[in-house]
Symmetry: C2
Subunit: 209 residues, 2 copies
């Protein structure tokens, strides 16, 4: 049996690009993929469940966790704090489990420094016009809020080169196929295989790299 280290899959996208739906669909297809539930100080939206979508905490509690170094990454987005608990990542990786994270570009950059082998995936809508339309269709946001999200989207899109993969979310099925393919492919990377494939009589030492 080939042993493999767990891998971190970090997905970022501007608000409205379809990231949450994409991550949910990919998790349905890959049952063995763990998910990192982020901590946030923002209030739950309708239908969001504490511990499933986010851990909803007070700002005092967030700052306490942060100051104790409990977060592998944290960031301020639209005035709210978001963070990923380091122990959750470490437990998954130690158990050889892959884990999916849905975080913003600032958090992704922090995770890349902490875990250089993390796989960073960026999702974009096909165009800014399409992104704006999707944000308007949500009807949950005021015009000023939409303008703010579009400004932030431009800033985030400018970071696309720090990502390993780019998915243009034109069609949900195609985008889920791509995200799933990235995870399946990364699992087959020779650089992620633990040393020794005894059943195949593979040499333990490196032959050439």
């Amino acid at each position: 049996m080939i042993r493999r280290r767990g891998a971190l899959f970090v997905v970022s996208a501007p608000s409205g690009a379809g990231k949450t739906t994409l991550c949910r669909e990919a998790r349905l297809r890959l049952a063995d993929l763990a998910y990192s539930v982020s901590y946030t100080t923002r209030v739950p939206r309708s239908g969001e469940i504490d511990g499933t979508d986010f851990w909803f905490v007070s700002e005092a509690r967030f700052r306490d966790l942060r100051d104790r170094g409990e977060f592998a990454e944290w960031a301020t987005v639209h005035g709210h704090l978001y963070g990923t608990r380091a122990s959750v990542l470490q437990e998954a990786l130690n158990a050889g489990r892959d884990i999916l994270l849905d975080i913003d570009t600032q958090g992704a950059a922090q995770l890349r420094r902490r875990y250089p082998e993390a796989v960073l995936v960026f999702i974009v809508a096909p165009s800014m016009a399409e992104l704006e339309q999707r944000l308007r269709e949500r009807r949950s946001d005021a015009d000023r809020e939409i303008a703010r999200r579009l400004d932030r989207a431009r800033e985030e899109i400018a970071m696309w080169r720090q990502y390993d993969y780019l998915i243009v979310n034109r069609d949900l099925k195609e985008a889920v196929d791509q995200l799933t393919a990235i995870i399946v492919a990364e699992r087959a990377r020779t650089s992620r295989l633990a040393l020794g494939l005894p059943d195949l009589d593979l040499p333990q030492k490196e032959v050439r790299h």
Copy 2:
């Protein structure tokens, strides 16, 4: 529309690992994937078609092409010559088409030097015992030939670290899923995207790499 450079997908495997079937199935799923038909001096097996499975040529013709620098890689395998025509690869890449190559470990190493961005995929049977059984089930080879193929398989497997991906061919469907996923994922790599995503107002210059 995002432009992308064509990519080379090089698949190698010891004889009996299921490489030919895997490549055929992956090509059926990915209709836009070009295929590089190798040149060989060996005689056609039953059912093999000139120009589809291989270009079957005389040794004199092969040496002539080789001496004129027409091959991007060439190697001697089991006493026969095999080679890949450079012009076929270059035409596909220039047209932005991805191309699949089914070649041995020596040829793969040559292609890596010539095309550092090539994607190298190695396929193995689950064990040497399984590989031997598959070779015996072919019934086309004498015992001495089988022993020779197993010896060579050990030499080839020792080269697995020069590959980017490793597929253990336990189950055909699963292995085809993996090979297809590797191709789909590599197409979404930011490093393969041509500069400029004008529709997304992405900056032309590098932000961070």
